[in-house]
Subunit: 345 residues, 4 copies
């Protein structure tokens, strides 16, 4: 046996050894997955087969269709003719997150939420929206006239423009703030929920906070959490009163994580300025109540506030954002400025 032979053998042993010690590391290496959806779901449902398994720490890059499955792109098209329930809000996913069990919290860090089309669509659908009779606020009145608006988008300038020939101002230009209209996990109690409806599991919250730079927390109700996302909005006003925002397909980059053993009641968000709770139900006042009670409980349990001090502070510095008032459940976001938080315990 010569040295080189020994060297070779030692090298082989070393490689073998390194290979083995690296195994656990490898298996926990934070990886980035690109997923191109080929089919879409219209319900959040723990029985759906996951399309991809992720580990805590992994990053997912994927795409979504717009709320109408990208079918409406011209002013002369009618969403009411091209799109039929439940086939709205096409969801990409579900994604299984290893280690996520009922009673845990799923963490989705939104690294990028960006339109990948040069125009967005907004429609006034008959019997949908808050200023008309609709499915539940049933009326005997005639529906409003259907309209389709095409907003041109310049993603480099981060703006959208709309022509308004019937109005005195013939064009408006607005800044974009793209966000996920719909994002959430498999619901609790074996329920399956349409992608039109928000609830405790998230879903179609249509709230402007689920955008680049925000971290989302969801209660985990099913093994693997099974999160999905879709229904991109390039911009939207509070309440989404006509029933749609600037509907557009998205490219989304999201990093996943799991907080073990921590249960929450409603989706929570966090950005550099606020901690937030998004609660969804009807009537609106109960979405307001649910969001604020969860926010106060959060301040008490995680930040060491006395319960009544938390009520006092939220009363004086709390910010309320109305997400949507048009979906089967309405969404209210209760926000608390992080500058008034102590260092987290």
């Amino acid at each position: 046996m010569n040295v080189s032979s020994l060297s070779l053998k030692l090298s082989a042993i070393l490689v073998f050894f390194l290979f083995f010690i690296s195994l656990p590391n490898l298996s926990f290496t934070q990886q980035t997955y690109r997923f191109q959806p080929t089919k879409y779901y219209f319900t959040y449902d723990g029985k759906h087969e996951p399309v991809l398994k992720l580990k805590p720490g992994d990053t997912l890059i994927t795409t979504t269709l717009d709320a109408f499955g990208n079918k409406v792109t011209r002013k002369d098209q009618r969403a009411s003719e091209l799109v039929h329930l439940p086939e709205v809000n096409h969801q990409t996913g579900p994604f299984y997150v290893e280690g996520a069990e009922p009673g845990d919290t799923l963490v989705l860090q939104l690294i990028k939420v960006r339109p990948n089309r040069d125009h967005a669509v907004s429609t006034h659908l008959p019997n949908f929206g808050v200023l008309t009779g609709e499915t539940y606020t049933a009326m005997l009145t005639d529906p409003l006239p259907e309209r389709t608006y095409i907003w041109k988008m310049d993603l480099d300038r981060n703006i959208a423009t709309l022509d308004l020939p019937a109005s005195k101002i013939s064009q408006v230009e607005i800044p974009l703030h793209p966000f996920l209209g719909t994002v959430g996990v498999a619901p609790a109690f074996g329920e399956a929920v349409m992608s039109l409806t928000p609830a405790e599991h998230g879903g179609n919250m249509d709230c402007v906070e689920t955008k680049t730079g925000t971290t989302l927390y969801f209660p985990v109700f099913a093994k693997g959490a099974l999160f999905m996302l879709g229904d991109g909005h390039a911009a939207q006003g509070d309440g989404e009163i006509c029933g749609t925002g600037l509907e557009c397909p998205l490219e989304v980059t999201v990093k996943v994580d799991v907080i073990k053993g921590k249960g929450i009641n409603w989706p929570r968000f966090e950005n550099d300025k606020y901690i937030m709770v998004a609660a969804s139900t009807r009537p609106l006042i109960d979405a307001f109540r649910s969001a604020h009670v969860e926010l106060i409980n959060w301040l008490v349990s995680d930040y060491g506030f006395d319960r009544w001090d938390a009520l006092q502070l939220v009363s004086q510095v709390g910010v309320t954002r109305v997400g949507n008032v048009v979906d089967p459940k309405y969404t209210v976001v209760a926000k608390f400025p992080k500058k008034y938080l102590p260092t987290k315990k």
Copy 2:
């Protein structure tokens, strides 16, 4: 050939003939099935395997557990300790009805709804009910104290009695009017709905009209309709304000039928005096609106009323019953007296 031989031959031919013409009848003979459940469901879900297939015209005799799975039977027991979501309102079924397709109407004629236990249970559960903070009407207040009441029932006399030692009146005796708290079909749009929640598919309407002698109509959303039933109440006041009625297991006899090609939006009922619509949503006023719009539409489409005449008549002779105001959706029943109907067209 003698007469008897001829007679024999003719008889044979006749028998043969009768056999053949009876064939199609045979296959549609109205049969009675007894079904003894061995497992129960806690969601209405088109994905559940049916436990039995019925044909239009068949009669089903079956039994149900009470809302707590018959686990609470003593005053010193606490439902909050013995029963946990979603395992309330155990459902018997689902039953598949041949020929029922989405867009049809399922008919359930309630021939008998009768308690099969000598006592009923009613509880005041923490954070459940309309006069306390609850899941959606979230409050910072403390829950009401939990209470368990055992009502003794005499089914021959059709009465229930309750001892009230803490009150000036030490006992009350009330008449029974047993009904199905929960009855419905698989929901629309691929959704699965907890047996605690009523909606377009029926479910936990907790309304006093679903009792012996009433015919129920449900929209069919899934092939076979997949109806289920449970959550018997021996009696209940309007609104079920504490959250429970006189909870008891039932023996139920129901005859099924299908109306092909007739779609309805909400469960409808009919007894000898009223046609009725039961709509379920929050807020209460929208359940009220939905029930009354469906009732007016029914009067127009099936009974030849002018739309505004129907509005006028319902305004003057309509009767409103509040089903429940405690479940995740509230139920309102809009009733129209049959004596003001023309002969059905």
Copy 3:
């Protein structure tokens, strides 16, 4: 001293004596007053001059105009052209009741509530009613078409008939159950409330219970209570969904009384079968809550029920009547059967 002088003195003494013995009688004699109104009020307001002073025990016989001031009597008339806010629900009164002070309860025993015209009017007014956008449930939808219906009444037969030429059934005949749409006292806290609006002081409750044979209890907020009444309905369905009942002028006989030192929060009613509370607010669920909490408190304070027993009993035998869901505040009546009451303490 001569005889005439003595006679004069005796006469003087006698007069003096008679004056004194008559004092208590005079002041407590139950008298019957007929009052024919010559002007009408459109607000409940403690600042209005009373038109008549009554004593506890007195009986008042008076008349009221219909909701439109008797101006709409033909099918081709439009209430929206003839009647303008606030001049609807013309009120007869206010009547001052001696001894009634804030913190007391006014008792109005309705001895007779009877239409005094041979027809009643019902209209579908634009942007009024529960199945259309209206002042507060503001919508962008077009209003429903206005309609005026004239119901012929036969007071001897106690029925009303309506021709419906546009419908398959060309005429309906319904029984009358005449009631005061509007009755109440001067409001609390110096407020003045339109006669279109119900609240804690009663007012435009539009609930079917304020009819012959019912005793009404109102909280007294102003010295003399200052009750008023009007807005007769010969019949009405639950909710008054189109916005009007069978509007008609009335002849009313009411006996007044005062319960000193007993304060109540909402109008209460009592007939031979039920004790009742009528609460008015929006949303509907809060009118429901307010009525039932007051009913439970009543059972506890006046009838010796344990608080949770009262909740349990109302949950099982309570009856809910929806008064109106069209006025600026909605009215719910919570009813408890008197047969389950102990002898009043």
Copy 4:
């Protein structure tokens, strides 16, 4: 005659001349009035005697007490003991504005809204607030514990500090944004409205927009408009969820004007960035609807927008602020960014 003499004479003539030509001007000169209130009102009521008459263009400098009449100033005091309905929200005024007639719009330009005390008070009152049972959302639950918080204010630094010894963070410092909790005019239809209640006339809107730099527009319902103001808040979060803001007395400078012949349905505001509508009613969703319908109507009538274009734009760039969800009516502010407005026609 020397030059100086001539100069003197010319000066005299000039002064004389200027005096005469200024006479008519003088009578319309915009004047500044200082008004020190000596009594306060607790209702908005067209029957109140005005305390001062102003002309369009005049400026008023006055002061207000805090919501509790300045009676609560220490942490150990209980507002529920010191303050009783209706004596909350002491109003300064009413001020009569010459030329203001029903159907006009009153303009109040808020030049200064500034606390004039070195501390503010916030309380958690029993059965008041949105996260507890209260007067209308009646519950059987126990009230929350009463608390009094004293915020120290440094008006030069524009901040308030609160000690929170029971919490992990022992002190917070927040910026002030002082505003009028209550401001409005005499109500319509002869009604009188408690200073606790907001409505079409303004009143207790408790919305953060009525601050320095904002111009307020109110519908005029009574001759002279009869505006009042009070209930200063040095800061407040959205919804005022505990029932109070940083309650403090104010010094207020307001310039008045009248727009003749322009009627509006709800109070409107305008600052450098937004036009706004504040609608007040229950339920919350109807305050939302009313505010947004009025905003859309405003865009159409004053800014030349097509009705459906206005709906589309408000849907995409509208901002919603929840004023209060604790008063007898809730307030929602619908805001539209002025940068999307054409030049006003």
